[in-house]
């Protein structure tokens, strides 16, 4: 049993990584990952929302009429996001200023609704929580990774610790750089996958909506 929870969580982190594999919830992955810190904060917010949504949906799964399933799930997500937003706005104002908009946009992240629909609505509470947690962790990891690369190349620092004196490639902290970094990382992962695990070409997700 424990092993399968582990599998669920690892699934979210690697084989179905929301950003690199499923290509979902890309906006924040590009826009807010200018540093490890931002990526981390955004990731944590998503992690919390996802886990809570999955738990809630799983609990309510037999109470919600299938005809209004989607609106109900969206409502649940929106509620959690609103709560997160209001909390951040009150207690973490600097972070909020930097990514307030994207926090609000968590509502529409396809990854959340799709997990609610595909997993939580069909599974018990604990597995749902594990799935949400795993997916959220995968998302968090992806954002931190992208943030780290961009911060390193763009600002010459990692998590705020300066490594080089001047900022090397400014473009990396512009969102344009986010596209390059994610594209190149995806390519790299595909290459590793194809080279060492015989993965299928043209991976990197897409079309999983």
């Amino acid at each position: 049993m424990a092993a399968s929870y582990k599998k669920l969580i690892l699934n979210g982190i690697f084989s179905e990584n929301p950003v690199f594999r499923l290509a979902l919830s890309l906006c924040p992955a590009v826009a807010v990952t200018t540093s490890v810190r931002n990526g981390f904060l955004m990731g944590v917010a998503v992690l919390c929302v996802m886990t809570m949504v999955n738990i809630t949906v799983s609990i309510l799964r037999n109470l919600i009429n299938p005809k209004v399933r989607i609106p109900a799930y969206i409502l649940i997500i929106a509620t959690y996001v609103s709560i997160t937003e209001m909390m951040m706005r009150a207690y973490s104002r600097t972070a909020y200023k930097q990514m307030g908009l994207y926090i609000q946009l968590i509502v529409v992240f396809a990854i959340i609704i799709s997990r609610a629909e595909l997993f939580a609505s069909r599974n018990k509470v604990l597995p749902s929580a594990a799935d949400g947690f795993g997916m959220g962790l995968g998302f968090l990891g992806a954002l931190v990774l992208v943030g780290a690369v961009r911060e390193l190349i763009g600002k010459g620092s990692i998590a705020g610790f300066h490594i080089t004196a001047s900022s090397p490639l400014l473009i990396m902290v512009l969102p344009t750089g986010g596209f390059f970094v994610i594209g190149l990382l995806m390519g790299l992962f595909n290459w590793i996958d194809q080279r060492y695990y015989g993965g299928r070409p043209g991976g990197g997700g897409g079309g999983h909506h």
């Binding site: 946009l105 529409v108 390059f180 390519g187 043209g202």
Partner: protein, 194 residues
């Protein structure tokens, strides 16, 4: 007045294009830009939903929520309007025009998970836009998203004839292309500030 609306339109459609300069709506952008046909279908559907939801959101927000001082429910409301409307349209279309539904139905569902659909009403309220301005922003954003989709679809169709290294086929190269387009769109930076 007209000039103001024109500026909002041009800014949101081109200069501050949501996809290339604000980095919103990316999932759907990458998802449906593989073929020109789907890109066109999504463009039309999206623009229509965008305008309608901008109008509905403005009405409910300004006529109901503001007087009641319950603005904090706006996220719930905005996304609720989109989701409700989309599901409604979905049901309706399936019955009334199955061919159109077959063409556009898949996009309808995707729209609820597009950042832009939520960002636009949020921006409208942030900027205290009036009704016309709100609709114009919706229209401009829809047009801008359509433009982005169509450009991307045409490029990706050309890329299908290219010899892209295997690991980069599909999503990775799409990201790189978008990065390059965004780099080109930097040329517009500093042109209009909103």
């Amino acid at each position: 007045m007209f000039k103001d609306l024109f500026t909002i339109f041009i800014a949101s459609a081109i200069i501050n294009n949501f996809v290339f300069t604000r980095y919103l709506g990316l999932c759907i952008f990458f998802g449906v830009s593989k073929k020109m046909e789907t890109a066109l279908g999504m463009s039309m559907t999206f623009t229509a939903v965008m305008v309608i939801s901008a109008a509905l959101s403005w009405l409910v927000y300004n006529l109901v929520m503001l007087p009641l001082h319950i603005e904090f429910l706006k996220i719930v409301l905005f996304i609720g309007i989109v989701a409700g409307f989309v599901q409604f349209a979905d049901t309706l279309l399936k019955k009334l025009n199955p061919t159109l539904y077959y063409k556009l139905g898949i996009y309808l569902v995707l729209i609820t998970t597009n950042c832009i659909i939520l960002a636009v009403p949020l921006l409208n309220t942030d900027n205290n836009y009036n009704f016309l301005q709100s609709i114009t922003l919706g229209l401009g954003s829809g047009a801008g998203f359509s433009l982005a989709l169509i450009i991307m679809a045409s490029i990706r169709e050309r890329l299908e004839l290219a010899n892209i290294p295997k690991p980069f086929q599909g999503m990775p190269i799409a990201f790189i292309v978008t990065g390059l387009i965004a780099l080109a769109f930097l040329g517009f930076s500093g042109m209009i500030t909103i």
